[in-house]
């Protein structure tokens, strides 16, 4: 069973499908997180041209995770995937300080979109293993997350390449689904 089997205990409807959208700049670690969720090998990842989708079935619980490429040329297509999203997962490379502003702008464009209105957002502060990476709380401040009032949000420190922190983030995802 993958990591997502923990989601099982938060739902009573066995056939319920969830749509999770993984976004963020290129090289943030979206595909690595997707592969961790699906319990797949993470040593042979390539840059995402277009998108990847994995459906993780866990005891009749179906989770559709959409991982959309993050490079600038692809970002205009992000909006095509907004509809019916249950939770937005935004991934940030905590050590990429040069593009901190860029990733913040992209996040706020997402949050101001009508189709993502009220959709809970989980921010992964990824690559905590790198020297000079921002801590989750510093990153939350830098991105201005505390000013978000129209939805529930959460920041989670993680190192996807080592598989740490991803699970904790998913537990929050479960709770926010349960509340809905």
């Amino acid at each position: 069973m993958g990591l997502l089997s923990i989601l099982r205990k938060f739902t009573s409807a066995p056939e319920r499908e969830l749509r999770l959208l993984l976004l963020g700049l290129d090289n943030a670690g979206k595909t690595t997180i997707l592969k961790i969720l699906a319990s797949e090998d993470i040593t042979s990842i390539t840059p995402t041209a277009g998108f990847n989708i994995k459906s993780v079935i866990s005891d009749g619980f179906k989770l559709n995770v959409w991982d959309i490429g993050g490079q600038r040329k692809i970002r205009p297509y992000w909006k095509n995937y907004f509809e019916n999203t249950d939770v937005l997962i935004y991934v940030v490379d905590s050590a990429d300080k040069k593009r901190l502003e860029e990733t913040g702008i992209e996040l706020y464009e997402l949050l101001s979109d009508d189709k993502l209105h009220n959709v809970p957002v989980l921010v992964y502060a990824n690559k905590q293993d790198l020297p000079d990476s921002l801590s989750a709380s510093d990153l939350a401040q830098a991105l201005g997350l505390p000013t978000i009032k129209d939805r529930s949000w959460q920041i989670q420190a993680c190192t996807a390449s080592e598989g740490t922190g991803v699970r904790e983030g998913m537990e929050w995802v479960c709770k926010s689904i349960k509340k809905k």
Partner: protein, 332 residues
Amino acid sequence: MVTLSPTTHNSGAPASASGMNLASLWWWLAWWLRPLVKWVLRRTTGLCELQRICYGEVSGAPRVKGVERSLASSRHPQLRQLVAHLDDVAARRCFTGANERQLLQRAVSAVLVAKRINPTVHCGFVAAFGKCVEQIWGYRQLAAEVELLRQTPFDSADASHERRLLDLWRSLRPDEPLQGRISKQWQDIGFQGDDPKTDFRGMGLLGLENLLFFASEHRAPAHHVLAHSMHATAGYCFAIVGINITHMAWSMLRDGSAQTYFYNTSRSLPTLRLFHCFYSYLFYEFDRFWAEAKPTNIMEFSTVKGQFERRVRVALSDPRTQFRVTLAVHHV
């Protein structure tokens, strides 16, 4: 409205129990019956299984794969020892030069002794079997070499890595000097940002070497593909797609599906160069396939790539498939 098209189902239903039983029943039957069938054939034809394959199958993949299967299922202690030894040598990448010639001789004589074959009568078998051994363990050695390159991450601090990256630029953009090592120009050849170093990811140096070989050794086809990749709607990111093609070529090499290509094209020990040729072939053919699929935009990449990969795998599953090695540019 987006329709769901799940590509993988993890932790889905386990393989059906009856299917498993049938498979293991078949395996047991084959295990017990094979020696009997082999004995009858040996009595009636006067030839051992390896001889029947070498004489009966056409050269190239059909023959090499036959020998490979026969050796893998052999229960003869000397042959099992031989296979284990050759596997070890190939994994250490020592199956070259004088060592290779010596190992080939040893392999041939081990079979001659084990199967009591007279080499003067069966000189055709000696030559054919030697060639097969060279291909089988040359392929395994190549897989080890490719894996080593893939596991070497691209490192900006390594001058040789940097030099190869700049060579790639010069091969693809000979008339346009690069303004700086960090430059938006990298996006013109399909990297994601201003610095390609993070784009090689899990393909490491292998991704760069594949691209560089295609761009420098097959210059005209590579420029042709690069021009296609810049199409306003049906365009794609040349380098990024190239790195995804590296993944495809590597996975086919690793799971053995690429054997058909290598056994049918290689005349001697398969080398890294031949892997680069396989990659170039895949990239060039993908470009054509992509154009024929008439995609609306890059978001169709994973679907089209999946269709392309299936088509290549079907072709590779027939050992008689021949591949065009020289890339011809068709001007449209």
